[in-house]
């Protein structure tokens, strides 16, 4: 089975069945990542470009390895965000890369919706590797693969997502993905970092008390807090943030005893998550990284196998 759309722009627009198919394929790919010979011919003769307008060593590396493990020709372009400001148009860049015979463009951009514009102007498939404060679908898919492995499924699970919800593309993609699969998602954090009253996404719960979100949760996901937000006055101090909104062992006592701890990384230890929690037996943060490569392999495989390609 392939995806219905040419591109993977987010989890908002794909179906439950498609998500399931991606996760199933990723499970198979995980065998390759875990195996002794990390080389398959799935992407033999395919050309993959990573186009990053924003730094992200780990996401880019994850995609690059996924491409290379499957024998694709992979290249990367690190476009600085200063070229965005200069008004060098995204669409021109897109067309240029397209004309070089690229099959898949993996794109990270500091502005929401940038991959959507790109997708309209190119023949290549676009994978959104994070756009502004909108979505980060591959991160959510790897989170979901991790949850499914440990919990067997999603139906009836309570997932607490804690932190800078309003600016988090990870949170948004997880909400779309997890709610589609039947999990209950509760989002918590300082009110200044949650959607304003009346602007909440449908189908999820929001709360100001992290305790309420974490209580009886099956999964506790801490989001990375960008320390610049404090300078913009969105919370008064890092110390206070850790005290009221950080995930520490005391907080984790409220969750179910077998709750998973997750974090999209890189972590600010001692701020949104304490080291005791991050390094505990409940933490699957390192597992998430492995699953990231598997999910990206699955997507690249599925997206280069559609009809007419």
């Amino acid at each position: 089975m392939a995806l219905k759309t040419k591109d993977l722009l987010g989890l908002r627009d794909i179906s439950r069945e498609e998500i399931e198919e991606i996760l199933n394929t990723a499970e198979a790919m995980k065998q390759v990542v875990a195996g002794p010979t990390k080389k398959t011919s799935h992407l033999q003769g395919k050309s993959i470009v990573t186009l990053f307008y924003e730094n992200s060593t780990r996401t880019r590396l994850s995609f690059e390895l996924a491409s290379k493990y499957m024998s694709a020709v992979a290249a990367n372009i690190a476009a600085s965000s200063s070229s965005v400001k200069k008004g060098e148009t995204l669409i021109d860049t897109a067309k240029t890369i397209d004309m070089m015979g690229t099959d898949v463009i993996i794109m990270r951009h500091p502005m929401s919706g940038a991959p959507h514009i790109m997708a309209k102007h190119v023949k290549s498939a676009i994978i959104n590797a994070g756009d502004g404060t909108n979505e980060h679908p591959t991160q959510a898919l790897l989170d979901m693969l991790t949850i499914r492995e440990k919990k067997g499924g999603f139906e009836g699970l309570k997932v607490a997502v804690v932190g800078d919800v309003v600016h988090s593309r990870v949170a948004r993609s997880n909400v779309y993905g997890l709610t589609k699969m039947g999990a209950k998602v509760v989002l918590a954090g300082p009110p200044t970092l949650l959607p304003a009253p009346g602007c909440e996404m449908p189908g999820v719960e929001y709360c100001y008390q992290v305790e309420d979100a974490v209580r009886d949760a099956d999964v506790v996901m801490a989001l990375r807090i960008q320390l610049e937000r404090q300078k913009k006055g969105l919370f008064p101090s890092v110390r206070e943030y850790a005290r009221y909104f950080g995930i520490d062992p005391k907080m984790m006592q409220l969750a179910r005893p077998d709750a998973l701890v997750m974090h999209p990384g890189p972590m600010n230890r001692g701020v949104e998550i304490s080291s005791y929690v991050a390094d505990s037996d409940q933490s699957f943060i390192n597992e998430q990284v492995t699953n990231g490569v598997a999910v990206r392999m699955a997507l690249l495989y599925m997206m280069t196998r559609r009809e007419g390609r």
Binding site: T89, L90, I91, S112, G113, G132, T133, N134, G198
Partner: protein, 422 residues
């Protein structure tokens, strides 16, 4: 030179009649049954004959941004939309903050001859919000109102001075309500759609807060004030209350706030990016209620043409504004008249008569002795094709939409200035 329009349904704000209309020397010479004339005769059977639309708020981009629009392309587009008089904003380059620029715009429009242009002068020199501009000189050169539109007059004392000073010249100040500390970074309405799209939102408070302040300033100083492009239910309520206690306030909304809502931004459609942003269906309903009960006085286009390169980019970076002349009548006709919410007479009041009265300019009425400024329209459907706009700005979220009510012919001072190719 005379022209006779036969068998048209002539619609004024206070009623309609089927009659013939004779134009002589640029004026409406006679309205009646069975008229005849030596000159040209046009049979308008089946069409409405409406007073030329009067736009209280548009951007012609000239001088300075002629690649977006100039006075000639803008007035041609206005004529194609049924407009015979437009008021254009001062945020040009150089800014229209002195008589020389005012005259330049007016003369260029008169020379082109498509549509009458009444410039709006800047409230503050260079739109800097520091000192009031030479309103008297600009008024003498043809300006009819004053506004720093595009930017708010954030300094309350400066606005107070402008309100007081403008009274001497029998004119008014039009304000663009925006609290910059609340709109900074925002690109669409703050609401569920913005949350879902991951786009930073602009609250209603960013618009309503300044309106509350400006209404109080106008009240305190017994001055006339006009509030531009209101978009929320709260704005309507604030103005309703102010009118009830006697504040000399008028206001306008635009066709896009009446026809579209925030969901037009779905898919990151940059053509739906506008300031203030498209709001919700509930806001739209409140605006319509305001039109019906008289709180909302007028519909103005806020025609804001942009070059494709200013739009064809990331939503966050794209310029704000909609090219509005050529869809204004049809989108209002479709949304308000065709749906049965307003009679066509009421639309004539909101788009012709009241705007002319607010600006204190001729027009807005079909009456013997008045300038022959009018347009013919029918009830048929048409599909918006932005690339065929006469405006240089092809930026509209209505591209491809089917609307009712086509502008067929526009007459300005008795001359045919637009004719629809059929």
């Amino acid at each position: 030179m005379s022209t006779l329009i036969k068998n048209a349904v002539i619609v004024n704000a206070d009623g309609r009649e089927t009659a013939d209309l004779l134009i002589e020397n640029g004026l409406i010479a006679k309205i009646g049954q069975g008229l005849s004339c030596e000159g040209e005769v046009i049979d308008a059977k089946g069409a409405f004959l409406l007073p030329g639309l009067v736009d209280l708020h548009c951007h012609l981009r000239d001088p300075g941004y002629e690649y977006k629009e100039d006075v000639v392309s803008g007035t041609r587009a206005a004529a194609a939309g049924g407009f015979t008089s437009v008021l254009c904003m001062a945020n040009t380059h150089p800014v229209n903050d002195c008589a020389a620029v005012t005259s330049y715009i007016k003369n260029k429009a008169d020379e082109a001859g498509y549509c009458k242009v009444y410039p709006i002068g800047a409230v503050s020199k260079a739109l800097e919000g520091k000192e009031i501009a030479e309103m008297g000189d600009m008024k003498s050169a043809g300006a009819v109102a004053f506004s720093d539109d595009g930017s708010p007059v954030s300094n309350a004392r400066l606005l107070e001075l402008a309100l007081l000073y403008s009274a001497r010249f029998d004119t008014y100040v039009a304000v663009h309500p925006e609290e910059l500390s609340l709109t900074e970074g925002g690109v669409m309405n703050r609401g569920m759609t913005a949350t879902m799209l991951g786009l930073p939102g602009i609250s209603r408070a960013a618009e309503e807060g300044p309106i509350a302040r400006d209404l109080i300033l106008a009240e305190e100083n017994h001055a006339r004030i006009h509030i531009c492009h209101i978009s929320t239910a709260g704005c309507v309520e604030l103005i309703r209350q102010a009118k009830a206690r006697g504040v000399k306030v008028t206001c306008e909304t635009t066709p896009h706030y009446l026809y579209l809502d925030e969901t037009a931004c779905e898919g990151y459609d940059v053509n739906a990016k506008v300031a203030p942003p498209l709001r919700t269906v509930a806001d739209q309903e409140a605006l319509i209620k305001g039109l019906v009960d008289g709180t909302v006085d007028a519909i103005a286009t806020d025609h804001a043409p942009h070059h494709i390169d200013d739009k064809n980019m990331e939503f966050t970076l794209a310029a704000k504004g909609i090219s509005g002349f050529e869809t204004a009548f049809s989108s209002c006709y479709t949304r308000l008249v065709k749906s049965g919410i307003l009679p066509l007479e009421k639309l004539v009041e909101k788009m012709c008569l009241t705007p002319a009265q607010i600006a204190k300019i001729p027009g807005g009425i079909i009456k013997e002795g008045q300038p022959a400024d009018f347009f013919l329209a029918d009830d048929k459907e048409w599909t918006v094709e932005a690339k065929k706009f006469l405006s240089r700005g092809k930026n509209t979220p209505l591209d491809g939409k089917t609307l009712s009510g086509r502008v067929l012919k526009t007459f300005q001072a008795g001359r045919l200035v637009y004719e629809r190719a059929l």
